[in-house]
């Protein structure tokens, strides 16, 4: 049983992981999954509609699913289809998150009016758009760092509404009952309408009805082109620059010059009609034809789109966070009962989760064509990945579940952090010019991030030492010794990596800006980690601290690493001040506070620690643990 139980646990978990990796299925007769795979060029990157839908929903409401008023759930792509083609229905979905009470008051809304007490629909907000517009103008005049929470909330909601408007205008003109009919009429009368418009503008005799029809449509097209500018959906003509994709609105405006309605625009208008009229067979057939046409010209593009859709549906990092959580509890339980099997199960599940995370990170790297760390989101993934790898190695040697507890906790926490960082939009964004270098991203950034991983891991091992020693009697001499050795080893590793990473950053800076060291906040943050790790090692070598002292110092290392990772970005100065959310400041302060508390707890005299109270008493001569204080 003791041998079989861990294997059984592993098997169950592997089955669960396998089930998440299956190809996504359509929830109704419409091939919505297929629609989700269609490519769009947005913010410099080709991505599937599915990613657009998911990252939009994350940005608007912090989660990927939409619940309708009748309680049924919508997949992200289904929501996008409604926004694009049946906006009167989508406008009633409660997808705008508002938590600021004063902002709610602005809309005369109460928290009870919202789904989950925080999500509201476009229709609920639209009566007060004028006032929101006025408030947004006032708030935008203030520098972002100096805005009040109300002003930040106004600016954020305003941005979200613009985002929603863009989506509504990206594929068809909202509010037209039969856009395909409009386009087909235009196709039929293109030449006649063009002549009528020209004559009208030249104040010549003309067919008034034709001119008006043309101009009305023209205005709609121009609206689409202006509002949904960033959504480049229409591929270039064969032989043209392959990156020269256009918004649907712009392609439609071309009709008045070319006399031919763009085929992509027609296809999307066809999707709109069949979606509105609930004709799944026709929708699916149209999708098949359109895709076959794209497939001939952009096979690679579609290949990546398909893979990304599959990746989105699998949500490997979500699965990972669950597995890490499970491993954490199993490893924790192994200290109380059934040590060997639980320890082994925790180790294997951690290993499986780590493999899954590795696969996820590799997929992202392949999709982006970049090294693993390119922004804050991916740094969170990588910090967790690196720390768990170190834990697996430690656990392989020490087999006492300590590293598994650390792996579970750090793995889970970093993925939760990553989730919150993903709320600001697409996580595979393009790099600014100066960062557009795979060599330095692959060396400096990866190594510095590995340094963060190791410093955090040392800090977490120290927390385990303090918690177990003070609160339980389980920290016997052998465990305390091995924790001491583990922490020391990881600290050495952390020093090496943070140092080499920082130095490589200096060399990059010398190559790019002509200075090895510029005292930029992020550089200083990395330097502080190096100094701190060096300080701990020197204090140990000089005999100034023993095991407990190292542990307390290592916990302080958590504060310094958190500052370097996030705090420096919050200053809003320097070359590295990219990507930052206001909410992060609160969490950073909370984290620092918790670590300070742990340091204080760690400084309680050892005689009061439960583990040492007992072990010290019966062997007064040896004092095995106190001796290594």
């Amino acid at each position: 049983m003791k041998k079989i139980a861990p294997l059984l646990a592993l098997l169950l978990v592997a089955l669960y992981v396998g089930s998440t990796l299956r190809a996504p299925k359509n929830s109704a007769e419409f091939d919505t999954v297929g629609f989700g795979k269609l490519p769009v060029l947005l913010n410099g990157r080709f991505k599937p509609m599915d990613t657009v839908a998911r990252s939009s929903l994350l940005q608007l409401q912090g989660r990927q699913t939409v619940t309708r008023a009748d309680g049924t759930k919508l997949q992200p792509t289904e929501w996008l289809l409604d926004v694009s083609f049946r906006s009167e229905r989508a406008d009633a979905y409660q997808t705008f998150e508002i938590t600021h009470p004063e902002l709610l008051a602005l809309f005369d809304l109460k928290i009870e009016d919202g789904a989950g007490k925080k999500r509201f629909s476009y229709n609920q907000l639209s009566p007060k758009f004028g006032e929101l517009d006025r408030q947004a103008k006032l708030a935008r005049a203030v520098e972002s760092a100096a805005r009040t929470t109300f002003q930040s909330a106004v600016v954020q909601l305003y941005g979200n509404l613009i985002h929603y408007q863009r989506l509504r205008h990206a594929l068809t003109a909202p509010g037209r009952a039969d856009f395909l009919g409009d386009l087909l009429r235009l196709q039929e009368n293109a030449e006649k309408w063009r002549i009528a418009v020209k004559a009208k503008l030249d104040k010549q005799p003309h067919d008034e009805a034709a001119a008006n029809a043309a101009m009305e449509l023209g205005e709609r097209f121009a609206d689409m082109a202006n509002i949904s500018g960033p959504y480049l959906v229409v591929p270039p003509a064969p032989g043209a620059d392959p990156t020269d994709w256009k918004p649907v609105g712009a392609a439609l405006l071309e009709t008045f010059r070319s006399g031919r309605v763009d085929s992509t625009a027609l296809a999307y208008a066809g999707f709109a009609r069949t979606w509105r009229n609930e004709e799944p067979t026709r929708f699916n057939e149209l999708l098949r034809l359109y895709r076959a046409d794209l497939e001939k010209r952009f096979p690679d593009r579609l290949g990546k789109s398909d893979a990304e859709t599959r990746f989105n549906a699998a949500q490997p990092f979500y699965t990972c966070s669950i597995l890490y959580g499970l491993a954490f509890f199993l490893a924790l339980a192994s200290w109380l009962a059934w040590p060997a099997p639980l320890q082994r199960a925790a180790f294997w599940i951690t290993g499986l989760a780590w493999l899954l995370a590795t696969g996820g990170i590799l997929t992202r790297m392949w999709l982006e064509g970049r090294p693993p760390v390119t922004n804050l989101y991916s740094s969170a993934l990588f910090v967790g990945w690196g720390a768990v790898l170190l834990c697996l190695i430690l656990e392989k040697f020490f087999r006492n579940a300590i590293a598994s507890v650390a792996a579970g906790a750090i793995g889970c926490c970093t993925l939760i952090i990553a989730h919150h960082l993903s709320l600001s939009g697409d996580t595979l964004e393009m790099m600014q010019a100066v960062l557009d270098t795979n060599f330095w991203l692959a060396t400096h950034v990866v190594i510095v991030t590995a340094g963060y991983s190791a410093t955090f891991l040392a800090g977490f091992l120290a927390i385990i030492y303090v918690a177990r020693g003070l609160l339980t009697t389980s920290l016997d001499k052998a465990t305390a010794d091995s924790l001491g050795r583990m922490t020391y080893g990881i600290l050495c590793f952390a020093t090496l990596f943070s140092f080499v990473g920082t130095v490589l950053g200096g060399i990059w800076a010398d190559q790019s800006w002509g200075r090895f060291w510029g005292w930029d906040p992020k550089e200083n943050g990395a330097l502080m980690i190096v100094i701190w790790n060096a300080l701990i090692l020197h204090a140990r070598w000089g005999g100034m601290v023993k095991t407990r002292g190292i542990m307390v110092l290592a916990i302080a290392g958590n504060i310094i690493t958190a500052w370097s990772w996030f705090g420096t970005n919050m200053l809003g100065v320097g070359l590295h001040s990219y990507g930052f959310k206001d909410a992060a400041a609160f969490w950073l302060i909370t984290f620092v506070g918790s670590q300070l508390l742990l340091i204080l707890i760690g400084l309680i005299p050892l005689e009061k620690w439960r583990s040492f109270r007992r072990s010290a008493a019966p062997t007064p001569a040896g004092k095995p643990v106190l001796a290594s204080r």
Binding site: L41, L42, N43, G44, R45, P230, L232, T243, D244, W245, F397, M430, Q432, A433, V434, D436, T437, W440, G489, C492, F493, T495, L496, F499, V500, V503, G506, I507, W508, D510, Q511, S512, W513, G514, R515, F516, W517, G518, W519, D520, P521, N524, G525, L527, M528, I531, W532, A534, L535, H538, A539, W541, G542, M544, W563, T568, L571, G572, V573, G574
Partner: protein, 398 residues
């Protein structure tokens, strides 16, 4: 060795000193990082790092109070501590070689940072397409230039650094047949058209200053802004005042308003001069002509993907006459300078290059290589020892 000397030696070589200095260094770096919000990246370097004592102005009175040891003090002591313990404890063994190598690297790195603080010069070079320049301009410093343009073959320039102007004393230069009297000086200023009905007398009797007035502005430390000093300068010859000019770095070819771009010229005793307060220039024995700027963006966005400048590099002796390309992450090292792509305004066909002269630029590379090898060496020895012990332990109790 007697008592006090031994105490001093023990103090200098002690690991306790190292730890204390590291802790102080950490606080220094952290405080300086926070202070960047107020002082910017250049301001904090002067205040926190390139000094022995950090001085903080307190209260409204502006009395300066020393609050912390500066970078020179902490770095210097750390350097002493490192060198002293190195000599004191030095005994070569393979086990210790990594540590020794690493610390030698740290010593070099500290020296390198000190030297670049002392020697490094940062300049900017702004060029428009078609324009040729043989000088770059300092990114912070300014100078009052009086240029004798009488000889069409070459100009004779007398340049007076801004620090001297700031003293507001009369200046006599051997090459100039007049004295320079600084009547007003603003370290940062704003310009406005002078009100016709203003009761304040104009700041100048000659040139642009008759119609434009400069007002004092608080100093800026923002990274994308530059202080624009102004001064009211009277030139006094042997037979009395020649005139008073308003000069400012705002009057320059860089100005947006065309009427501020024209140089202010005058004649005195048959010679023609120009007077200008300008960004301190550093002339080079070669010139750049900007041929073309390119600004690539990601398709469908404004996000820049790359900036590049194609330049024609020439020396007067004709030995160099070739095209060079400078772009992001790819600088040009030439003539002791390194030219980096810094800014770009592709709509105006303008590029901004950064020119850095740092004779000690190689030191960090050497230091880093040594330290990396040292750390790797040490890490490997520890790893090998650890694995060996595990193996022994496993063999002892299988």
């Amino acid at each position: 060795m007697n008592g006090p000397l031994r105490t001093a030696r023990d103090f200098l070589v002690s690991l306790k000193l190292t730890v204390v200095l590291l802790a102080l260094g950490l606080i220094l770096v952290f405080a300086a990082t926070l202070d960047q919000v107020n002082l910017g990246i250049w301001g904090i370097q002067e205040k926190w790092f390139r000094t022995f004592v950090v001085v903080q102005p307190m209260g409204a009175g502006g009395t300066s109070v020393p609050i912390f040891p500066g970078g020179y003090a902490i770095g210097g002591l750390l350097l002493l501590n490192l060198i002293a313990s190195h000599f004191y404890r030095f005994a070569f063994t393979w086990r210790k070689a990594g540590i020794q190598f690493t610390h030698l690297g740290v010593i070099l790195l500290l020296i390198g940072e000190l030297l670049s603080g002392l020697w490094q010069e940062d300049y900017r070079m702004q060029l428009h397409e078609g324009e040729t320049k043989n000088f770059s301009e300092h990114h912070l410093n300014n100078e009052l230039a009086i240029i004798d343009t009488t000889n069409p073959a070459h100009d004779e320039v007398v340049a007076i650094p801004e620090e001297i102007i700031a003293r507001k004393e009369a200046i006599q230069h051997a090459k100039l047949p007049f004295r320079i009297v600084i009547k007003e000086y603003f370290p940062n200023s704003d310009l406005a058209m002078r009100d016709a009905g203003s009761t304040r007398p104009p700041q100048a009797t000659m040139g642009i200053g008759m119609s434009v007035a400069a007002t004092s502005q608080p100093l800026t430390y923002k990274q994308n802004e530059r202080n624009m000093p102004a001064a009211s300068v009277e030139l006094v010859g042997t037979s009395g005042s020649i005139g008073t000019w308003l000069v400012s770095t705002s009057f320059s070819p860089h100005s947006r308003a065309p009427f501020l771009q024209a140089p202010q010229a005058f004649t005195h005793e048959g010679r023609t001069y120009r007077i200008a307060l300008r960004w301190t220039r550093s002339y080079k024995p070669f010139s750049f002509q900007l041929l073309k700027v390119t600004h690539d963006v990601y398709p469908g966005t404004d996000t820049p993907k790359n900036f590049s400048s194609r330049l024609l590099l020439k020396t007067p002796d004709g030995r160099e006459d070739r095209e060079v390309l400078i772009y992001m992450n790819n600088p040009l090292r030439y003539g002791g300078y390194t030219f980096y792509q810094h800014q770009m305004d592709s709509a105006q066909g303008m590029t901004g290059l950064q020119a850095v002269k740092n004779p000690s630029w190689l030191l960090p590379y050497v230091a880093c290589t040594m330290m990396t090898f040292g750390l790797l060496w040490q890490f490997m020895i520890h790893l090998a020892g650890f694995i060996e012990r595990r193996r022994a332990a496993a063999a002892a109790n299988p």
